[in-house]
């Protein structure tokens, strides 16, 4: 889309205007069409910052004689309605996230800011207290 002839002609008319030097404020960088906060030290540091977490203990932690855990049967994003007993969700997304007033929600996981690699690659660890005060961080597809 950036290079149709008509647009190019318009840019020729306003050549100086067809440039953006710094699209974001200092401390922000352009990513995916938005100005995102830069973590000190750059992208690598940002990645490091998000890995300031601990490994999530397995279900058999501290019980060496317990049976081997069952294979995960849950799925992030699976539709659900039971946000009390979370009966439709299972590891690795054992909880039903349902917004107040909504008829249905989706299966996800919490405490992703504490434990490493809780969220799938395309999901974001989001502070749910912004939506409902007192809530933990949870995985959300944004």
């Amino acid at each position: 889309m950036r290079t149709p002839i008509s647009i190019a002609l318009l840019c020729l008319l306003t050549a100086a205007a067809c440039e953006i030097d710094e699209p974001c404020d200092p401390g922000y960088e352009l990513k995916a069409g938005l100005c995102q906060k830069v973590v000190a030290g750059g992208a690598d540091a940002a990645a490091t910052a998000t890995t300031m977490c601990i490994d999530k203990p397995g279900p058999d932690a501290g019980a060496s004689d317990a049976a081997a855990p069952a294979a995960p049967t849950g799925e992030f994003g699976r539709p659900c309605t039971d946000d009390t007993n979370h009966s439709e969700c299972a590891e690795p997304a054992p909880l039903c996230f349902k917004q107040q007033g909504a008829a249905s929600g989706f299966c996800s996981a919490i405490n992703c800011n504490i434990y490493c690699n809780v969220c799938p690659a395309t999901w974001t660890c989001f502070d749910l207290s912004l939506v409902q005060p007192g809530s933990p961080h949870g995985c959300v597809k944004l």
């Binding site: 647009i7 318009l10 306003t14 205007a17 922000y28 069409g33 395309t122």
Partner: protein, 434 residues
Amino acid sequence: MKTRGNPLAMALASILSAGSAAAQSAEPSNTAANTAEENAELEAIVGETVAEEAEPSRFSVYGFMDVGLQRISSITPSLGVALPSEETSFISGNNNLYLEVRPDANWRGLIETRLSLLPHGDYKFQGLGVSERTDTRIIDATSPSGRNNVELGGIVVERAFLEWMYNDYLNVRAGRFFTPWGIWNVDHGTPTLIALMMPSFLVQEAIPQRQTGVQLFGRHNAPPWQLTYDLTISNGRTDTLFDTTDGKAIGSRIVLRRQGELGIAAGTSMYHGDYQDERKTLSITPNQDVQLSKETIVAYDESSVGADLSLDYRGWRLRAEAMVRKVEHDTGKRRALTYRPNQPQVPDRIEYYGYAILAYRFMNYFEPYTFYERLETNKRADVVEAGYSLSGGVNIYFTPAVQLKMQYAHSSFENFLPDRNTTNFWVSRLVMAF
């Protein structure tokens, strides 16, 4: 109330505003520029010749209305939820009334209103969380039963201005007017447009559709050629009824037109202005004094330039527009997406928009057309940010005043959601001018 000899013609002519690039075949007259252009537009649309002089009339009422049937469906589930309705639905659309007064040959006042059922049923998302729906139903306490409901509607002031028409070269319009930009924004009425669905640059207001200020316009006739101009100074884009800055928006439009069997109109438009959103707070100081404070939360400058082309040859009509918009914020004065982690901000950017419509009218009744549009806004904060729309449609002209318009569109675009979105529109409107 006094009306002129051809009320239908006058109605349609006034729906069409001065400066349109679609006027093709009327011979330039020596009357005021806007009246002649309106007549030319009218002829182009309804196929009638209207020889109207600038004869004053006291007061006139005219307008147009449309009703429709539509279905909009999104293949992306989350976007589908954002649509007003994914179900097939009848629509009560535009009910536009024009109130015009011409106390003498050189002065005119025009108010265009739209009587609407809005804002009833409007959903609003205030960040994350449950949306709010506007409900204007109230109990009609004055009814004999005392308990039936009525839905309060709204009145949209499309434009309201006073006009002084000196001669072909100098005319002055003051008030709230349509931004003289391209083809579509001036020919805004359903009866005069080829397609039903507006291009994205208008839907998303890449230029302000309306401005409050002063507009100068005029024309030079050299048959079969004609040159028209528009100059504007206004409050520009604002969230209030006032200008929040002392910087005034300026704009211009120039159109070179050839009239005849082969009609050509090539235009260019420009707009430059600033925008500022502010927040006012009432608070208590540590000394227990009450104080009012004002904070600018968003501020940017914007510059836009566009070009448009209209070609008419017998039954064929081609309309094309393209525009570039540059937006640059003041440091620290950007809109933030509060519903996203770390609240990312909207970037400075250059936005590109363009569309083309090709239509062919035959047997005087039928006009099929195809419509292609692309855009890239270089941000991902709103509903439609980048992509294309391909559509086809047909207009059926029952009479010069009544037509059925139908359009199917397939749109694929990116926005604030993570996945690419696909939405299909099937829209129709039965339109009548009166």
